[in-house]
């Protein structure tokens, strides 16, 4: 039953985020913690991938009772985001530092990174590292320090 519940929750999540892409200009208005969505369009910080630093111009959050998913990109919302990263966790684990080696891949945490040269889909298990995501009101705190499947490093922090 727990598995069915998760599948249902994940389906809801997918709909939520796809919806976010279809309406890029929609500001975050919902107070409902079951469907908290946020879009920001200024230089928000940087992330590091494979030793290089990249700007983050968009950050989209989707949260429900099952997952919290954060998508960041050097492109602004509404642009063709051919470079992006997705970091997510099981909502029950928000605020805790998740050691990906001890946690369940695609259950306790999620990760995707893609740019024109590489693609780490959510099927690729990370080698090691930690993820922490915490919803703070309508904002979110994110810290990810990760070793990707091929040994390259990815790091992002947002407060």
């Amino acid at each position: 039953m727990r598995q069915i519940y998760k599948l249902f929750a994940m389906a809801v999540l997918v709909l939520t985020v796809v919806s976010a892409c279809q309406k890029p200009e929609t500001p975050p208005v919902s107070d409902d913690p079951q469907d908290d969505q946020q879009t920001v369009e200024q230089l928000l910080g940087t992330y590091k991938y494979d030793g290089k630093e990249y700007p983050v111009y968009s950050l989209a959050v989707s949260a429900d009772e099952s997952q919290i998913i954060v998508k960041i990109s050097p492109f602004k919302e509404g642009e063709n985001q051919t470079t992006y990263a997705v970091v997510g966790i099981n909502t029950a684990l928000q605020g805790t530092v998740i050691d990906v080696e001890k946690a369940w891949h695609n259950d306790d945490y999620y990760f995707i990174y893609e740019d024109p040269l590489v693609y780490y889909s959510q099927y690729r298990q990370l080698q090691s590292g930690t993820i922490m995501i915490k919803a703070v009101g309508k904002s979110v705190k994110v810290k990810a320090d990760l070793i990707l499947p091929d040994g390259k490093k990815f790091a992002f922090e947002y407060k």
């Binding site: 598995q3 069915i4 389906a11 998508k71 051919t82 995707i112 024109p116 889909s121 080698q127």
Partner: protein, 781 residues
């Protein structure tokens, strides 16, 4: 549910590119730089433009009538050496595509049109998918070659013939016609190196047809009508389809020409044979009732050759099993013609029609058949045969009780064994026999549908033993028609009520006599002889208190002018393991006494034994001992000893006979710190033991490979004992992108133990993975 889960995960992945085209565009890097925010310039990938292509059409290799297998090889212009190998610089990609199924099984490029993505799982060959890349190992004389197959990308450095493979398992490929007869193939593929492989090719598709030639199931060119036979045989095949509910019984009927030899259970000689199977009530006794009268229509065989349970009922006939042509494998209804016992090119698998049986009640029958073969335009097989009797193998009036050499008698009916072979299985001596002629090897006998097999411990060699009381190891198995024995052994005697066996093996020749009374009252007697070189018989004996066992292992230790010999029935490799054997014995004597002369126990330092099971340890220096022994060391071979001892020690008799090479007791077990994956060893560079949850741990094993091997296990399994996958769902191994667990259908055993700074690991999935490690480790526990 699992596929739904995958769909949802795929949807989650898609969210990341949800505003993009499902097939990523092939980058044209001649255009201006892509749009980007301040301080960010997105990298521009290269697109490989292939200039050469091979297209091979293999057709419906999955046999599911849902997709056809195409292999597309694309490569850049490269020099080709004299052996046909490309020489770099260059690139190669192979795409194994599951394209639209073509009923005619011919290569039509139009069927390649479409978009192909990764398969949902390795068993799903749905059209519109590609087969993930994988490595194959080719064993060639003097070398082993590993190469990629499925879908992969490979690059070759300048001057090199070595392909640097990337096994592809994600991405998309598009094949589209240009409208002028040419096609575009382009896509973006991602594999184990996470690099996006952009590529394109344009040109004519000229496929090579490699559909395996199919052997027709019927060669009849015209109808066979008025077909009549002069002899017939009836066999009871019992619950042939393993319904296990006693609702039907399968009867096999052979009708044959006069020139066909019907003396055994399988037609031989020359001439035409009509093979029919009918299903009758379970209670039918063919020796009393024969075949019940009636009309038996052919039941329905599914396209995948199975028959639904609901169609396995009394009153129907069985269509022929497709694509199985060997005489000993054929099943269901077939017509075939024999020449010297072999099938000729005239045969037909019968698929439809009906059989009418008139049982006249006096053993005679009229059997009529109105049948159709399996061809698209079916041929008729029609006729009627009246016979005074149908012979039943196993019950003709031969009235024999004892078989001739290499034959068996089942309920007074004798059948010859045409192929008999002997072999060793471990130390056991085995003989196997079958009625099928020309079976070349011991192993091949087990490929036959009927065989008889006897194996004995060397202790039973030359000794006539009673199968009901003998405790030393033997095994009897039989798939002989009417005498099926799954396994008869000292602890498994339910299938017989009496039995005696004499198995004599000497100088490469085995002679076996065996008489059995089966649980159903049938009498089976078999006599087999065979000669074969290379059989090794262990004649070493370890007997304690009259309980005689094969003596499998001896160790020697030479120290301070003394020789110690340890002897045990256990098959162990390292002296340390003697502490886990059930029994062992030892003698300690002066080196100079190892001369083959008879010694009294009182002449040597000590003799003793250990019974680890009962924790009894007896030494002649502490208890009374009497008896004699002889020990001979081989001056030419330090490991070779002969020993004979008949001793009573502490009231327990000890009889030891040994002639062989002993193992140096000082030799330590060397643990190789390695992961053997798909036959290839990878050295272990470091190991960590981490707490994964309150009750589970993960052993992280780092090797020369990029990916980390993880052994997940319950914390209380870190006890130095072997644990099987079936003991806990928390026990599994993760490696090479796969999970090996009980739930995934794998077997496996994991032993993890720690002793201070040392971690010991011994694990296997009994398939493609073995891990051994003994050394330091890091831990957060």
């Amino acid at each position: 549910m699992k596929s739904l889960f995958h769909l949802l995960l795929a949807a989650v992945a898609f969210l990341a590119v949800s505003c993009q085209d499902p097939l990523p565009p092939v980058i044209d890097n001649t255009e201006s730089e892509p749009e980007s925010g301040p301080g960010f310039v997105e990298a521009v990938p290269d697109t490989v433009t292939f200039t050469n292509a091979d297209f091979i059409y293999y057709g419906d290799i999955a046999g599911e009538s849902s997709s056809d297998d195409w292999v597309v090889k694309l490569y850049t212009d490269m020099e080709i050496d004299e052996l046909g190998n490309p020489v770099g610089p260059g690139a190669v990609t192979q795409l194994q595509l599951n394209a639209k199924w073509n009923e005619s099984q011919t290569s039509d490029p139009k069927n390649l049109k479409g978009v192909y993505r990764e398969m949902m799982n390795s068993g799903n060959f749905a059209p519109g998918t590609f087969v993930s890349g994988y490595m194959v190992t080719l064993d060639l004389p003097g070398q082993t070659i590993q190469m990629a197959d499925g879908t992969f990308f490979a690059s070759l450095e300048e001057g090199s013939k070595e392909m640097d493979y990337d096994l592809i398992d994600e991405g998309a490929v598009s094949v589209q016609p240009n409208g002028d007869g040419t096609y575009n193939i382009e896509g973006v593929l991602v594999g184990k190196k996470y690099t996006k492989r952009y590529f394109k090719w344009t040109g004519d598709i000229q496929p090579r047809d490699a559909v395996p030639e199919e052997t027709p199931n019927s060669t009849l060119k015209e109808d066979l009508t008025g077909l009549s036979f002069v002899q017939g045989q009836l066999q009871d095949k019992g619950d042939y389809f393993y319904r296990m509910d006693e609702t039907y019984r399968c009867l096999l009927i052979y009708l044959a020409d006069e020139t066909v030899d019907m003396t055994s259970s399988r037609p031989a000689g020359d001439g035409a044979v009509l093979r029919l199977e009918v299903l009758v009530p379970w209670e039918t006794d063919i020796t009393k009732d024969g075949i019940p009268s009636g009309t038996y229509p052919m039941t329905v065989r599914n396209p995948d050759t199975s028959i639904d349970k609901d169609n396995i009922v009394p009153g129907v006939a069985v269509p022929g099993l497709p694509n199985v042509f060997a005489a000993w494998k054929v099943s269901g209804a077939w017509y075939y013609e024999l020449e010297a016992g072999e099938w000729t090119q005239t045969y037909a698998r019968i698929d439809k029609g009906e059989i009418t049986v008139e049982n006249h009640g006096d053993g005679s029958y009229t059997i009529s058949y109105d049948l159709l073969d399996c061809q698209t335009v079916p041929r008729k097989i029609q006729g009627s045969t009246t016979l005074a009797e149908l012979t039943i193998p196993g019950r003709p009036n031969q009235d024999k009780t004892q078989p001739d050499v290499n034959s068996y008698v089942l309920d007074k009916s004798e059948t010859p064994f045409a192929s008999v072979h002997i072999s060793n299985l471990g130390e056991y001596i085995c003989i196997a026999a079958t009625s099928v002629e020309g079976v070349a090897s011991f192993d091949a006998i087990f490929d036959q549908d009927e065989y008889f097999y006897v194996a004995i411990s060397p202790l039973l060699n030359g000794k006539e033993f009673d199968l009901m009381t003998e405790q030393d190891l033997y095994t009897v198995m039989s798939t002989l028609d009417g005498a099926y024995l799954e396994s008869v052994a000292p602890a498994m005697k339910e299938e017989i009520t009496a039995g005696k066996c004499l198995f004599e093996y000497k100088d490469g020749k085995a002679q076996v006599r065996i008489d059995l009374t089966l649980a159903d009252g049938s009498q089976l007697a078999a006599r087999m002889e065979a000669q074969e070189q290379g059989i090794v018989v262990n004649e070493n004996i370890f007997a304690i208190a009259g309980d005689e066992k094969p003596l499998r292992t001896a160790f020697y230790l030479k120290e301070d002018g003394l020789t110690t010999l340890y002897l045990t029935p256990a098959g162990i490799e390292y002296f340390e393991d003697i502490s886990i054997t059930t029994y062992y014995a030892y003698v300690i004597l002066d080196d100079t006494q190892c001369n083959g002369r008879t010694l009294d126990v009182s002449d040597i330092v000590a003799v003793g034994y250990g019974d680890n099971f009962n924790e009894i340890y007896v030494d002649s220096r502490e208890v009374e001992a009497e008896g004699t022994l002889k020990v001979a060391a081989d001056p030419a071979d330090v490991a070779h000893y002969q020993l004979s001892a008949d001793i009573t020690i502490g009231g327990t008799t000890l009889k030891l006979r040994y002639d062989g090479n002993a193992i140096d007791a000082g030799e330590k077990e060397v643990v190789k710190n390695e992961v053997i994956y798909s036959g290839k060893p990878y050295g272990i560079t470091s190991v960590a033991l981490n707490q994964a949850s309150e009750s589970t741990c993960t052993v992280m094993i780092y090797t020369e490979r990029e990916d980390v091997l993880k052994i997940h296990l319950p914390a209380d399994f870190i006890d130095g004992n072997a644990h099987g996958f079936s003991q806990s769902s928390d026990l599994y191994i993760e490696y090479g992108g796969k999970v090996y667990s009980k739930a995934k259908g794998y077997s496996g055993t994991v032993t993890v133990g720690r002793d201070g700074d040392t971690l010991r690991i011994d694990a296997t999935n009994y398939d493609n993975l073995k891990i051994t490690y003994e050394g330091t480790y890091e831990t957060n526990i």
